[in-house]
């Protein structure tokens, strides 16, 4: 059964840039159908126009560069402060943990020593 123009029209957006393979019946229909050839030409023109947009630059609104750089600076400073605070907190937590560990070790040693003395006395 030959393909209809409506079926081809639905396929054209997908195959216009050759990124997807084209079935032989589609190719045959387009080759013999002026309507579908015109439709394909429209899509090709549209794609060429879109590619041309890549060469067109829009002028940024005033102050964008300065605002962007200031934004990075502010974020970097916040990061530095957070990092310093984190380091300080880590150092504090480390000191506390060390003290707790030392106290624990001492306590365990004392308990063991007492237990040893009791055992000797018995």
């Amino acid at each position: 059964m030959p393909m209809q123009c409506e079926e081809i029209a639905d396929l054209l957006p997908e195959v216009v840039d050759s990124s997807e393979p084209v079935a032989l019946p589609v190719q045959r229909h387009v080759e013999s159908c002026l309507r579908c050839q015109a439709e394909l030409a429209r899509y090709r023109r549209m794609l060429r126009g879109l590619q041309l947009l890549r060469t067109q630059y829009l002028e940024p609104t005033p102050g964008l560069l300065a605002a962007t750089l200031a934004n990075i600076t502010a974020a970097s400073e916040r990061r530095a402060v957070t990092s310093a605070l984190t380091k300080r907190r880590l150092a504090y937590a480390g000191a506390v943990a060390g003290a707790v560990a030392a106290a624990g070790t001492t306590t365990v040693a004392v308990i063991l020593a007492r237990a040893k003395r009791r055992a000797i006395a018995v």
């Binding site: 957006p13 216009v16 041309l52 947009l53 630059y57 974020a75």
Partner: protein, 198 residues
């Protein structure tokens, strides 16, 4: 419209700046921003369709780039990497905001029937075609516009686009298909109706 000095900077020099920025050189990164922000802003406008949102996207995108510059391996062009960050940032923003449409297709002129890309003397037609395309792109829903802009204007791969937008490659292809079709309908059917009315 203005020319960007990004392209004229020379790839080696930009590569050097990127290498220095990866080592934490803030001055080098600032210079990268100066050279590329027009390009990034243009993409942001095309993705968001509003200048206000584009400004926010540019600022956030460069902030993300600065935080992540050490992870940039250099196996892709810096511009491509920046496009991906910009696309991701714009996608995040579009989830938070509703865009305002200001351009109407009634203003679109007759179609250009010339081989615009092959004939430099047709600069006027090129300008007209690009203006119509820009306006038609603004009319697309944001999720379809993103695909058309990133694939057909900036040449990103389906895989890269899918990753940055958080969708599957299949979904990216489907959206591109729909986006192209709707863009074609905007461009040619609206123009046809406009011509019939005249």
């Amino acid at each position: 419209m203005m020319a960007s000095d990004f392209g004229a900077s020379g790839p080696t020099e930009l590569t050097d700046l990127v290498a220095a920025a990866r080592e934490g050189d803030r001055g080098a990164f600032d210079e990268i921003v100066r050279r590329t922000y027009v390009d990034t802003y243009t993409l942001a406008v095309r993705l968001t369709a509003t200048e206000e949102d584009a400004r926010d996207v540019v600022q956030e995108a460069y902030l993300r780039a600065w935080k992540g510059i050490r992870r940039f391996r250099g196996d892709a062009q810096f511009s491509t990497w920046m496009y991906r960050i910009t696309a991701n940032t714009a996608a995040t923003l579009s989830g938070k905001r509703r865009r305002q449409r200001t351009v109407h297709l009634d203003e679109i002129a007759d179609p250009v029937e010339t081989e615009v890309a092959l004939h430099p003397e047709l600069a006027t037609e090129n300008t007209e075609l690009m203006a119509r395309l820009s306006a038609a792109l603004d009319e697309l829903p944001a999720r379809l516009r993103a695909l058309v802009v990133l694939k057909d204007v900036y040449g990103l791969s389906h895989e890269d686009i899918a990753q940055e937008l958080g969708i599957s490659v299949t979904a990216a292809k489907v959206r591109l298909h729909r986006g192209r079709k709707r863009l074609r309908d905007h461009l040619y059917e609206e123009v046809g109706r406009h011509a019939d009315a005249v």
